[in-house]
Symmetry: C2
Subunit: 711 residues, 2 copies
Amino acid sequence: MRPGYRPNALRYGMLAALLVASPWASAAHAEEGMWTMDNLPVKQMQAQYGFTPSADWIKRVTQSSARLALGCSASFVSGDGLVMTNHHCANECLSELSGASHNYMQDGYTSAAQAREPKCPAMELDRLDTISDVTPRMNAALAGKHGADYTRAQQAAESSIEKSCVGGDATLWRCDVVTLYHGGRTALYRYRRYQDVRLVFAPDQNAAFFGGDPDNFNFPRYDLDVTFLRAYDNGHPAHTQFFPFDPAGPKDGQLVFTSGNPGSTSREEPVAQLQLLRDLELPSTYGYLSTLDGILWEYGRTGASAAQDAQDEVFGVENSLKVYTGWLQTLADPSMLAAKQKAEDSLRQWIDADPQRKNQYGDPWATLAPSLVAERRLFVPYVMLEGTRAPRGFAGDLFGYAKMLVRGAAERAKPDADRLSEYHDAKLPAIEAQLGSSAPVHPNLERTLLAFSLTRLRQSLGADDAAVKTILGKQSPEEMSTHLVNFTNLGDAKVRMQLWHGGQAAIDKSTDPMIVLARTVEPLARSLRDQWDNQVKAPQREASEALARARFARAGTSVYPDATFTQRLSYGTVKGWDENGHQVPAFTRFSGLYDRATGSDPFKLTKPWLAAKSKLDLDTPFDFASTNDIIGGNSGSPVIDAKGHAVGLIFDGNIHSLGGDFTYDGSQNRAVSVDTTALLAALKTVYRNQALADELVSGHLGGHAGAAGKS
Amino acid sequence: MRPGYRPNALRYGMLAALLVASPWASAAHAEEGMWTMDNLPVKQMQAQYGFTPSADWIKRVTQSSARLALGCSASFVSGDGLVMTNHHCANECLSELSGASHNYMQDGYTSAAQAREPKCPAMELDRLDTISDVTPRMNAALAGKHGADYTRAQQAAESSIEKSCVGGDATLWRCDVVTLYHGGRTALYRYRRYQDVRLVFAPDQNAAFFGGDPDNFNFPRYDLDVTFLRAYDNGHPAHTQFFPFDPAGPKDGQLVFTSGNPGSTSREEPVAQLQLLRDLELPSTYGYLSTLDGILWEYGRTGASAAQDAQDEVFGVENSLKVYTGWLQTLADPSMLAAKQKAEDSLRQWIDADPQRKNQYGDPWATLAPSLVAERRLFVPYVMLEGTRAPRGFAGDLFGYAKMLVRGAAERAKPDADRLSEYHDAKLPAIEAQLGSSAPVHPNLERTLLAFSLTRLRQSLGADDAAVKTILGKQSPEEMSTHLVNFTNLGDAKVRMQLWHGGQAAIDKSTDPMIVLARTVEPLARSLRDQWDNQVKAPQREASEALARARFARAGTSVYPDATFTQRLSYGTVKGWDENGHQVPAFTRFSGLYDRATGSDPFKLTKPWLAAKSKLDLDTPFDFASTNDIIGGNSGSPVIDAKGHAVGLIFDGNIHSLGGDFTYDGSQNRAVSVDTTALLAALKTVYRNQALADELVSGHLGGHAGAAGKS
């Protein structure tokens, strides 16, 4: 599945260079590209498909699309705030709303009426409003800066831009400064922020994730990977632009678009950085996640309740492992790296051929070299003690809360411009939503995760490491984890919010053992963060920007930037592919689902599906493949036709799409979607949710199927 | 730790080329080398150390050394069959002799008297008797053969040679045809076989493996990783040559030797094969073992009995993971591969420079190329369904027994020469010892391992794979594993031996579900084995032999062959090293052990150690580092001085030694041993085993410390 799941600190190094049409990514793969909404390849689309999007089309598509802050895409599909995304994008909400007596993630959920839709505890939905170019302002702020100065100047400029954009109402607006083309351009994305998002409908997990991990990233496929949510505005359903729902789905060979938020790609990353990823970071991350996968698998076997508690985590870990397996395979392909090396050599020769160019772009590879040495040295301690999302040495929600509270108190005491970017004023509402979340904490799972990660911390850094000694003292990881989880009160949202509002004084006097641990770790983690930002990230960004400028100057425009978890349009066609001489058709059908069902997990159907078999048209299209260029983060993206109507819902890619982080191969790389025809048939015939089917077809709440909402 | 543990099928591809003094392995590292006993570097030793071993010295060292068939080294240390090896080499025996009321692996064991020493259920000890050269005979048998013909001819020749060597008494003699120098030479190793090996003494696990996984492959170190066994001959202690025990241990800077059985190295493997190892096989194996590690870790947390059942498996997995982490790091070093590539390019130029050479050696790289394509295609199905030791898709002892029975019945029905090499008559006693072993089978652990591996089988090959469909049918891995383990009778050694003796007829009519499964898997596994042997191994061996001949012709003799789990002598000095500007001393002392003990696992000391603190001379040397060139399989090797006296016991290497599979770096690569002084002090003062201490010092049972057995 294509989620935005990004384990700690793997993807930090993706400051590369502007993408140009490289040898393996040009004419042969005309459908390559994740285009920003303000720079669509209009000429190519017209030449290939005779289609030119109007300004109105672009605006409607932009404003009907949305993003889930946790790392997925979504779309509005009724005028009353109805949102379509993937089941696996709503895992967290479904888990958090579940309890001892009801498991929404496993069994699904159907709201009895709009007024009774339950609020997802910690979900944020952002709808893109405007994009503006802030490149000149950023360039001015960064000119002549290096290392720590560079990092500080960047943070200060971003903070100032975001703050003025939010305009004092950070609950209504979200503003993100986004670096595109690896520094070639800086844009400001302003989003309408929705933090009141409620659950409307989810199918059972067996249908949403039929085939489970074995089928994940494979096709043919038979998944109803959908969840419907509703965005609320002041307690009422929000009213926005939306994609009218096409009950007939797409046809084989048809032109289709996806409008979503691909998380990140590394297609123009310098080869030396890709090699470091392949040789150091990827094996380390793969090993960590593989071990965690084994722990969670065995943990889940101890009972149904343990399995339920771990379900969400298991899903993320297994999915990531599959992605990384694909990465390992792609990066091990010598021809792929050789092609990239050739393009890079050619760029270097182009620069070196002209003294003026040499003067203008310098030697980006020389800038890069020491950063790679630093990266090699710092990687393990950095990911263990600091990490990008969370430190690998302290897994689980509880330490995550403690770190957020300890660091948040120190950061909020500083002027906005001096803070780490994730603690800018504009980001605080999202942090407060997380801290205040009513999502339950599972102590036994927390003890397991923490004991494992402390063990790994000691193993990775060595028992003689000063930080390890400071942290563990004479305790074993198991003893320490048990003590911390048993005696902390951070599982209680009220306690967390008190500490948050109490600021530095509250943190200083807290005796909560998890806070005490986070205070101990903080100076060690801070020091690594500083070294990482200044010795690794800053020079890599400098090098990337120089490369980006050179590539721009040489190759001109008409290129798309590497993915940045911002809205992109990809165009393509509904199409199967040739797999070792065997033709894989573009569509699967309901009949195939029933053929594949064995009665055993993960190929087991629930009773409503078994009962509906005789009532469904088994020839109905179910899932389909298309050539759209997508990546993790695109999960939940709508598939739309040239009229701007929804005809499908992206939820995965095929196995060949896993190399998409580094390259796009149009002959085999396929996006995988649910057909809108299947969505409607399942809602009506399997789940008997006529009201939701009617809202989709009519485009408004309480509408009737006859009253088509299509424009 | 340095064991012989080799997970399935990783090391199959080690048919490379004859080692010559390559640029990074010559003068700079004079102590490099794992020398066969019949080709010691006499001139180098004389030049460097003024020491020339006499023929008598060589013979005594040869015949006092031994090998444990499961993958470790050992030595005779008294004239009454007393054998010294590592605690971790006796894990299997210690686990198998443990029960609900006594855990010998955890708590240690001290035999009350020689007559009461318990027999290790499935341990085989082999003492090298003679080495003879069978190169001409093998060359004649293989001349002009390719592919399947080559494999068949090789098996037939080996079978015939081994059979005549054993001379009809396979319980007394073991004969192995050994390919040295990657086919440059073939030798016949004749061993005296001991299958009655009994347990004399083992320390508690806390002392044997103090520091556990975090300290493993690290130094300074404080481990008493020893177990004493006794070889029996017709029910009486065996009488053999032995190494007199030096109670004073070695000195810093002293010349020392190890005489052991390094398992395998790949120092002259062609670069293309190393790249395939790095890019395909190593990540796959690393991921599999990491997941298994997580499963076993969590399994062990469910209770003390579960932890005990899994202990042996955990140890092997964690140790392998550390080794593979080292491999990943070494293979990711571009300068190491570049140096190897340079040496290979130079050899290629040397061949190409002369038409006669071209004619003689052909183009080994062209022979190699298609085998790498086949390896890439076959690797995953091969390791999942067949594997070298056991198929990864069917983990656990029970399926292992079933496969051995099913395949064994079919193979034994053929003439010896037509069988797969592991079923030659000469190998049958070892198989029968395994099948007849009284070692307990742990059903819950078996269910876990089998459910995991079947899940991995389906995940790796895909749910649509024909083999997966045949094997799983409509069952889930969990259901299938539960059914198989609950209803098989193969946990009973009597049942296994009945099936073994019943031959093909008994296998055909068995309804035991594990036998039924093994019968189903057998044709699939056989087919992969054939493809693997003929398309991967045979051409790689052909290429390696051509390279070996070319290297011989170019560089002459005075080189050592890659390791083959046969007896080798390595010489070196007791010596610390420089670690990033910090000097690591050669010795640790008892005082350091007490300083490092935290009271928590794995840094916890048992009561006898705590009680002995005041009675021990804390300045006694404990463990030491030396420059000897060793590798997995060397565990349990004696460290001996120029007089041929035992001064230490190899049990590990430092972290830099992990690259030793591919290269030897004398500046940092260190072997790690227990000092004989520490062994005696611990036996006398901590474990109060004066009888064993006396036997060591006197050289015979019932001896007294005063009656020195030194020659």
